[in-house]
Amino acid sequence: MSEAINDVGESVETGESAAGKVKKFMFINRKSPYGTIYALESLEVVLISAAFDQDVSLAFFDDGVYQLVKGQKTQGIGIKNHSPTYRALDGYDIEKLYVEKESMELRGLTTEDLLVPVQQLSRGELSKLIDTQDVVLSF
């Protein structure tokens, strides 16, 4: 993975445009939205990655699917509600959002409960997709 990141760094330094070497980046989100800082950190790195014109996709499984639940109202806990940002991703050309069906079902969730359009994949399909990535970043 570190090698892959160096590659990106070099291409930026040498001014090579994304047209030269577009890589497939996948961000894996497995944590609930407010229990840890991971969800927010992931979102920030995803937004940064949008500036590099790479092929970015986001996968949500395990408790990560909770990040996308609609109707989050955080006034009561005094923490910033970062969930509206997922709706803005589409404006940065980040449109590939995947949720794992098994994780959704275990938690009694359906795609109707989510705040953005997503593609729901089975565990096997998602694993296969992760295997095709050039860079995988886990949160």
Binding site: P33, G35, K70
Partner: protein
């Protein structure tokens, strides 16, 4: 009154809830806070565990933590009581001691 237990972890992420429920003594109370509130939702395998636990324990869930996570009150397992911060304070005051399961 006996112990007030608080659980702040998702039941899908750690074993904390089980650990607490297996040890909490009859007549004590369990308050689900932070990511612990996911344990109070209907339609999960944890629901049955909650219903079972309520035979010997009183189960509460913190409303503001539900709302933050987009979990509406109508999705809470029946019998689990939703409390606000004032209710949290009352529970702490009513019980002899508080055990935080982290």
């Amino acid at each position: 009154m006996p112990m007030l237990h608080t659980v702040n972890k998702s039941p899908f992420y750690t074993y904390t809830l089980e650990s607490c429920l297996d040890r909490a003594r009859e007549g004590s109370a369990v308050l689900l806070i932070e990511d612990g509130v996911y344990s109070a939702m209907r339609g999960t395998p944890i629901e049955r565990r909650m219903v079972e636990a309520m035979k010997k324990l009183a189960i509460y869930v913190l409303g503001p933590d539900l709302e933050a996570r987009g979990m509406t009150y109508d999705r809470v397992v029946s019998g689990v009581k939703v409390v606000d911060y004032g209710g949290f304070v009352d529970l702490a005051a009513q019980h002899n001691n508080v055990q935080s399961w982290l």
